[in-house]
Subunit: 357 residues, 2 copies
C-alpha cells in the first residue's frame, strides 16, 4: 500500500532528494567517501554549499546586497539572533500563534523593547489580524508567514512603513516573495527544503552593524557572512539534502510553478472540507487559510467519529494527520514535495468515510 506523508515537519521530501542523499551517504561526488565523512573544506563540499546558497538566491530572486546563509539551531535560535542583530530601539511583532509568541517573548525578555501590534490569541489564533498599525519608529515588523499549528498563512508580504523580518520556516519556497521588503528572512529547513539541522537565513547586509549591544560570535550574522557559512563546521548532510531539493524545485520550474501546484492541492482539500458535512475547517475566513497546513475538525454532530476517522485514514496509508494538541482534530500538511495524488487520496478517504457513516 502506498504511504501518503502528511507530517507537519520533518516532512515529505522529493524522491529525488532521498535517492541522491542515499547515494551520497555511500559515495559522495565520486570521492568513494561518504558525504558524512569528508571535510566541509573539501572542494566537493564547498561546491555543495555554494550551489545551495546560489539556488536560493535564484529561486527567491534575492536582490544584490543580501547574503544567503546556512546556519544551525532552527528558527528557535533565530528568535534570539534576529533582534540581537537588528533591534536598535524598538521592534514590532505580529502575534499569530505559539511560534510568533515565542519569537516575541525572546526579543522582549532578552533583547529590547517590543510592541505587539496585533494578536489573534482571542480566538486561539484561528485568523490573521487585519488593519493593525505598525508604528513608523520601529526598526522592523516581525511576523510568521505560516502558522503550522493553526493552519493560517499570510500569503502577501505585509504593506507596512518599516522593513520586514519573517519566520518562513513552514512556507519558504512555496510561492514568490518580494525579498527587497525584508531585512531578514529565516527558516528551518525541515518543511520545504531538506532534513532538519539546517537553517536558511537571508539577510540584508546594510541592515547589520547598527546596534550597540555586544553580539556573541556565533550569534552575529556578520561572522557567518564573513566566513561564507563556514565559520565552524556546517551541518553537511542537511545542507546536501537541501541542495537536492533546490535542484528538484528549479527543474520543476521554480517557485511560480510550485505555487500553482500548491494552490491546486489546497483548493482541492478545502473544497472537500467545506462540502463534506462531517468536517469543518478551523479557519473561518478562507483568505487566512494556509496552503501548507490544512487544519480541520469533525463537525460537532460527528464529534464521536474523530478517532474512527483517524484510524480509517491510517489504515488507508495516510500518515501524520493528527492535529496539534492545541487545535485538535486533523492537520494535513501539503508541503511542496507532497504530490497531488496524496491530496486526492485524502479527499477520497473523506468521501468514503462520509458514505460509510
Amino acid at each position: 500500500m502506498k504511504k501518503h506523508n502528511f507530517y507537519a515537519g520533518p516532512s515529505i521530501l522529493p524522491e529525488f532528494t532521498k535517492e541522491k542523499t542515499a547515494e551520497a551517504i555511500l559515495n559522495f561526488a565520486g570521492t568513494e567517501l561518504s558525504v558524512m565523512e569528508i571535510s566541509h573544506r573539501s572542494k566537493e563540499f564547498v561546491a555543495v554549499m555554494e550551489e545551495a546558497r546560489q539556488l536560493i538566491r535564484e529561486l527567491l530572486d534575492v536582490p544584490e546586497g543580501y547574503t544567503v546563509l546556512f546556519l544551525q539551531g532552527g528558527a528557535s535560535l533565530q528568535f534570539l539572533m534576529a533582534p540581537m542583530n537588528l533591534l536598535k530601539t524598538k521592534a514590532a511583532y505580529l502575534n499569530t500563534g505559539v511560534w510568533a509568541s515565542k519569537a516575541l517573548k525572546e526579543a522582549k525578555t532578552f533583547v529590547g523593547e517590543v510592541v505587539e501590534v496585533a494578536s489573534s490569541k482571542d480566538k486561539n489564533f484561528n485568523y490573521i489580524p487585519k488593519n493593525f498599525v505598525v508604528p513608523a519608529d520601529v526598526d522592523f515588523l516581525h511576523y510568521t508567514s505560516n502558522n503550522t499549528i493553526y493552519g493560517t498563512e499570510i500569503l502577501k508580504d505585509p504593506e507596512v512603513p518599516v522593513p520586514l523580518v519573517c519566520d518562513m520556516s513552514s512556507d519558504i519556497l512555496s510561492r514568490p516573495v518580494d525579498v527587497s521588503k525584508y531585512d531578514l528572512i529565516y527558516a528551518g529547513a525541515q518543511k520545504n527544503l531538506g532534513p532538519s539541522g539546517a537553517t536558511v537565513v537571508i539577510v540584508k547586509n546594510a541592515a547589520l552593524g547598527k546596534v550597540n549591544r555586544p553580539i556573541p560570535t556565533m550569534l552575529n550574522y556578520q561572522t557567518h557572512i564573513d566566513n561564507d557559512s563556514m565559520f565552524n563546521t556546517p551541518a553537511t548532510v542537511p545542507v546536501f539534502g537541501c541542495l537536492q531539493t533546490l535542484r528538484w524545485l528549479k527543474e520543476l520550474g521554480g517557485v511560480s510553478a510550485i505555487e500553482k501546484k500548491n494552490k491546486e492541492k489546497a483548493e482541492l482539500l478545502y473544497a472537500e472540507i467545506d462540502r463534506n458535512k462531517m468536517f469543518a475547517s478551523t479557519v473561518p475566513d478562507p483568505a487566512d487559510r494556509s496552503r501548507m497546513n490544512v487544519t480541520f475538525v469533525m463537525n460537532p454532530e460527528y464529534a464521536e467519529l474523530e478517532a474512527p476517522f483517524g484510524a480509517f485514514a491510517k489504515a488507508r496509508g495516510l500518515l501524520g494527520l493528527a492535529g496539534h494538541r492545541s487545535v485538535g482534530g486533523f492537520r494535513a500538511s501539503l508541503y511542496n514535495a507532497l504530490p497531488l495524488e496524496s491530496v486526492q487520496a485524502l479527499v477520497e478517504t473523506m468521501k468514503a468515510f462520509e458514505k460509510e457513516n
Copy 2:
C-alpha cells in the same frame, strides 16, 4: 584502489554507520518513509534519540545526576553556552590552541571574568603546559582535551581543585574519562561520532541554576534538559548517524577496547615518524602527542620534498593528509573508525618514499 580517509573532521565513520544511514534515508525503521521526512516526535525517532543518549551514558559510564543532550551549533556555540550557564564569578581557562583561545575569548568578551592559567602559545602550541596553578576560587577549569590542529592531547583528566569543563570534540569516546570530575563535557559529533550538525553535551544537573545573568532560552541547558533534547526540532539525520556509531562502538567492546586500538595505531605511526630520517613530529614531548591527530613535517634537509610526499601519498589513496596552515606539513587523523590497515598503508608509504628519495 582503496581510499584511506585521514581527514581531520568531518572524518572517517564506520562502514556500519554509512550502510545503516543510507538504508534509513530510503526506509527508516520499516516506516517506508525516509529518516529525513518523519516527525522527530514519531515513536520511531524518539526511540533513536533515547537510545543515542543512553548509549553515551553507558559507554562513558556517566554517573547519575548528569544529563546527556544532543544540541546544534557545534563546539563554537558551546564556547558561549558553557560560561553563560556555569560562570558565576570567575573561570580558569587553559590555552592549548586556537580552539581553546576562542573558547577563552568568548567567555571573557561576552560573559565574565576569566583567568588564563597557562598557555603554550610561545611555541605555537606544540606542547601541553604542565604544573600550572588553578586558583581554588574559580568556578571551573575549561580545557580542550585534544588539539586537532597541533597534534597534542591531554590524556588524563587534570587533577585540579575545581570542577572541569571540557571541549572533547576531537577525542570523545576514544578512551575512558572520569565524568564525575566534570561539570560539563561537550563535543561536536563530526570526529568520533557521526555527521556534523549534532553536538553532544554531558552536563551535571546540580551545576546549573546558580548564575544570576539571564540566559536566552536556546542557550540555557535547562531548556534542553526539560525537553529531552527536543525543545525544537533536533538534527534528525546527524543524531541517527551518531546512534549507529555508538552501536558499532558498543559491539566492538566500548571505549576501553577502542582505546587499545587507538594506542596501537598511534604508536605505529609515531614510531615510523621517529625512525624515518625524512620526517619529524611537531610535538617534541612524546607524552603530549595526540592519538587522534598525528602532526608531522619534513626534516629541514628534506624540506623541498614536502609537496612531492603529499602527491606521492595521494597517488596511493591516502586522503586528507595536508597539515593545517598554522602548523604546515602533514596531519594524519586516526579517529576511532580509522582501521589499523590505513595506518599501515601510511607507514608503508613513508618507508617507500624514503627509499625512492
